[in-house]
Symmetry: C2
Subunit: 366 residues, 2 copies
C-alpha cells in the first residue's frame, strides 16, 4: 500500500476531514461517501478509457463470489458448455463453481504441472463459436503465470478474472463483457471486489436470482444496494487517485512493473539454477515469481533469513510450497533491488553448501 | 465507535504493533490475523456463554446475503412453509429473498403501519409445528420496534436477524439454530457479518451450493475459506474486547442502553405530543427511536438545527421519513442527554409556532 494512502487512511479512521466523524461511523448514504464512490468509478473509467456502456460496481464476496455469479448469470439453463481455461490453482477454483451452474468445457495447454500457459495455437482448435462465454484468469498468482495477450475469439463473450493484475497494465475493456478483480492485490484492502460489466449483460439476469447475487440490483443502486464496505472502498479510491495522479496512469505503472520483474527474473537467471523459476520464460508473471531452491531445508533458511532482513511474505502458496515473490503495484523498485541483493548474498553463503550436498549424495548413490 | 477503538485502529493502519506492516497489507494467513479471529470468536463466546456446539463465523455480504443463505440451506426443496414474521422494513426484505427459495408463510400482528409488534397471543394461533423454521428480526431499525421476548415455539427451529441489537443485551443462544448480525451497528465497520450457527445445521447444506454460500466451507475453514475482510474483522475484535473488558459484559451494556433509552423516551413523553413516537410503548426499541414532529417543515428545521449543535444522522429512514435517533452501544449517555436538551430547547422555540399554525388551520377550516 502506498505510504501516502496509509497516511490518509489513518487520518480518516480518526476523523474524515470536514465531516466531524470517523470513516468507521460515516453513513454509506452520505454525500461524502457518494463522492468517494463516484471518484473511485471515475478513476477506473479514466485509467482504462472505459466507455459509458460498461457499469462499474464495488461488491463484496471476493473473486470467489464472482466464480458463482458469472455462471449463475450466463450459464444456468444453457446447453452449450461455457469454455473455462484451466491454467493453475485459481482458474481451477472458478471451474468447480461454474460446474454447479451448467455445462463447462475445460481448455488447457500441454504443461502437466501448470508450468506454462497454453499457447494461442494450442487453444485455437479448442475454442468453439457456440460457447456462451469464455472464462479465464489473466494472472495465476500461485504458479506465477500471466497471459501477455488477450485469449479467445471475438465472437465469443470473454469474462476475465483479473484479481491479481488489474490496473497493473493497460488493457482494452471492449474485448470483454465482464472483468472482475478483488481489491487486495493492486487496489486496496480485502473486502471489496470491482466488477466491470457491459450493460447488455444485465438483461440476462434471471428474476429468481438472490438479490445479493443480482448484478442488476448493484448496477441500478450504484453499489449501495445494501451497506457496502465503506472503508475498503475509500482506500480503493485513494489507491486509484494515487495511480492516476502520482504514478501518472497505467502506461507508467506498467513500465515500473516491467522494470521490477526484469530485475527479479535477471537475478533468477543469473543464479545458474540455484533459484529455479516455476513458470516458462514466455509466460512469466510481472506480478508473482514462484521459484524453488535446491532443497526444502535451504528454502526454510531462505525464508527465515529473509525475515531477518525485513523481507516478509515470501512463502510459496501452501499448495505448491517453495518461494514466491510478489511485485504488485505498490511494491517499490527499491524493495525489489533489496530482495535481489539478499538473494545473491544468500546464494554466496549457501550455494557451495548445496553443491557439497549434491556431490555427497551423488557419491552415496555410487 | 468507542474512542479507544478508533485510536488503535488508526495506529494499525500505519503499522500493526510488532509486525512491521500496515493492517491493510497483512496476510489473512498470518498467525497475527489468526489470533485476531480467535480472540474475536472467544469474546463473542464469552459474552454470550455460547456452548461448543455452535460455530461462529465472520462472513461478507451483510444481513442481505444471510436473507438468501438461510432459506437456501433450510428451505429449498421443502414443502412445508417456513414461518417469517413481517414486522417492518427489514423483515420484509428477508421475506422477498426467502420466497425465491421455497414456500413461506407470513406471520404478523394487527398493526397496519408497523407501529407495533405482534403480541404473543396474536402469534400463538399462527405458529405451526411443521414449519421448517421460524425467522424474525429482533429489532426493526426503521420503525424503532424491538422484541423484548423470544418469539416462537421451542419445537420449531428459530433463526434470528439480530443485525441491529446483537450484543446490546444478553440472550440465550440455545433458543436459536442461527443468529446473524452485520457489524455496522454495535460491532464494527460495514463489511463483515457475524453468523452463529448450531453445528448440526451444517449437515443440511446441499452439495450443489455455491462455495461462498456454503456454511460448511466457512465453518470448516474457520472464516478464511477465501480472503476475509481483515480490517473490518480486526475492528470488530477491538469492539468486542472493549465490550468485555471496558464495559464489563452484556448485563452492564444492557443497563447503559436501558438508561439511554429511558432518557430519550422520557423526553418524547414529556413533550405533550410535540414529538410523536412511531412505536407502541410496549415495543419501543432500545436501539432506535423513530418519531415525528407536527409538520414536515418543523422536521426539516429540527434536522438543520441539530447539525449546528453537532447532532448528526437524525434523519428518518427514506421509506418513512421523520426523525430517528439511534442509541447503539457506542453512543454515550452524554450524547443522549445532549440530544434531549436540544429537543427541549427546540420545542420551547417552535412549539408555540406550531400551535399557532394548528389554530390558524383550524380557523381556516371552520
Amino acid at each position: 500500500m502506498p505510504e501516502s494512502v496509509l497516511r490518509e487512511a489513518s487520518q480518516a479512521v480518526t476523523e474524515v476531514a470536514g465531516e466531524g466523524v470517523s470513516i468507521l461511523g460515516i453513513s454509506h448514504r452520505s454525500s461524502w461517501f457518494r463522492n468517494v464512490l463516484d471518484e473511485a468509478e471515475e478513476n477506473i473509467r479514466g485509467l482504462l478509457s472505459i466507455p459509458p456502456e460498461y457499469r462499474i460496481m464495488f461488491l463484496q464476496g471476493g473473486a470467489t463470489l464472482q466464480f458463482s455469479m458469472v455462471p449463475m448469470t450466463l450459464l444456468r439453463g444453457r446447453s452449450d458448455p461455457a469454455e473455462y481455461l484451466h491454467t493453475g490453482y485459481w482458474s481451477g477454483k472458478s471451474i468447480t463453481e461454474a460446474r454447479r451452474e451448467g455445462p463447462v468445457r475445460i481448455l488447457k495447454g500441454s504443461s502437466l504441472n501448470f508450468g506454462a500457459l497454453p499457447s494461442a495455437s494450442e487453444l485455437e482448435s479448442q475454442h468453439h463459436q457456440n460457447a456462451p462465454y469464455l472464462h479465464y484468469v489473466s494472472n495465476e498468482t500461485v504458479e506465477g503465470l500471466q497471459f501477455h495477450r488477450t485469449v479467445g475469439r471475438d465472437d465469443v463473450m470473454r469474462v476475465c478474472d483479473m484479481s491479481s493484475d488489474f490496473l497493473s497494465r493497460p488493457f482494452d475493456i471492449n474485448k470483454y463483457v465482464i472483468v472482475y478483480a478483488h481489491a487486495q492485490k493492486n487496489l486496496g484492502p480485502a473486502g471489496v471486489t470491482v466488477v466491470i460489466l457491459r450493460e447488455d449483460i444485465l438483461s440476462r439476469v434471471s428474476d429468481d436470482m438472490p438479490a445479493m447475487l443480482d448484478y442488476r440490483e448493484h448496477a441500478n443502486m450504484r453499489s449501495v444496494y445494501n451497506t457496502p464496505p465503506v472503508f475498503a472502498i475509500y482506500i480503493t479510491m485513494l489507491v486509484l487517485r494515487w495511480l492516476r495522479k502520482e504514478i501518472g496512469g497505467l502506461e507508467a505503472m506498467d513500465a515500473m512493473n516491467q522494470a521490477k520483474a526484469a530485475a527479479l527474473y535477471s537475478a533468477l537467471d543469473a543464479s545458474q539454477n540455484f533459484y529455479r523459476g516455476h513458470a516458462a520464460v514466455r509466460d512469466r508473471s510481472l506480478m508473482n515469481a514462484a521459484f524453488r531452491l535446491p532443497t526444502v531445508r535451504l528454502e526454510q533458511s531462505f525464508l527465515e533469513q529473509a525475515k531477518n532482513h525485513g523481507l516478509y511474505g515470501l512463502e510459496g502458496h501452501r499448495s505448491i510450497g517453495g518461494i514466491r515473490a510478489s511485485l504488485y503495484n505498490a511494491v517499490t523498485i527499491e524493495a525489489v533491488m533489496n530482495l535481489c541483493a539478499f538473494m545473491e548474498n544468500f546464494q554466496q553463503q549457501h550455494g557451495r553448501e548445496s553443491e557439497l550436498n549434491e556431490s555427497a549424495s551423488m557419491k552415496a548413490a555410487l
